[in-house]
């Protein structure tokens, strides 16, 4: 099981969502994808997309406007 980190700090719509999807496509089943960013809407929309694809959101945390979302492929 690999852990893939995606840094989207400073990126705006739709880049964090697209980069999250790109990483999930490349990941193998069981891999963890961790996306970090500070675009506010993406914090809501990435988990929305993850659930729409039937995948699992493991954790969402935020500190001083920077959020991290952990997803299991």
């Amino acid at each position: 099981m690999a852990e893939i980190k995606v840094d989207c700090i400073g990126e705006t719509c739709p880049v964090p969502l697209v980069e999250a999807r790109k990483a999930l496509r490349k990941a193998k089943q069981g891999d963890i994808v961790e996306v970090t960013g500070n675009h506010p809407s993406s914090k809501k929309e990435i988990p929305m997309a993850v659930r729409a694809m039937g995948l699992e959101v493991l954790e969402i945390k935020e500190e001083k406007g920077t959020w991290t979302i952990r997803i299991r492929r």
Binding site: G10, T12, P14, V15, L17, R21, K22, R25, A52, M53
Partner: protein
């Protein structure tokens, strides 16, 4: 996959091509399928070197408005159209080029970005894409 977006890109205006590509990428990111059918003025954006050439749909002011918006977009770190179209392809999006527009406007295949185009086709192919789409848009 859950759902599908079939979008007609009729306008070649920069802001509308942005809308089409952002929506297409959004659909793919949500785990949907997506296809973009470039026709009429939209097709001009698939010419080699043509992607960023569209003017602003309003307040273009002979290019001044576009320049100002482009500057604001750069400050806001908005992705380029080239990045958006490459991402769209990487996520499995389909780009369809209208062959009737090519005939009318004298556009040849070698004038177009063959690296991006999945198919050269007509209304039948678009309708075939759209008939089972959950989202259809005309931009």
């Amino acid at each position: 996959m859950a759902g599908k977006a079939a979008i007609i890109v009729h306008s070649g205006d920069m802001d509308k091509v942005y809308s089409a590509l952002i929506l297409g990428n959004g659909a793919l990111s949500m785990g949907m399928e997506a296809s973009l059918f470039f026709t009429f003025w939209g097709l001009q954006r698939l010419k080699k070197g043509g992607l960023e050439k569209g003017q602003l749909s309003k307040m273009n002011m002979f290019g001044l408005g576009k320049w100002m918006i482009k500057r604001k977009m750069k400050q806001a770190k908005v992705a380029s159209l080239e990045k958006l179209i490459q991402d769209f392809k990487e996520l499995g999006g389909k780009i369809l080029a209208c062959d009737m527009t090519m005939d009318i406007m004298g556009v040849k295949r070698e004038d177009l970005r063959n690296d991006l185009i999945s198919d050269y086709c007509g209304v039948g192919t678009y309708m075939n894409e759209a008939k089972d789409a959950t989202i259809t848009l005309f931009i």
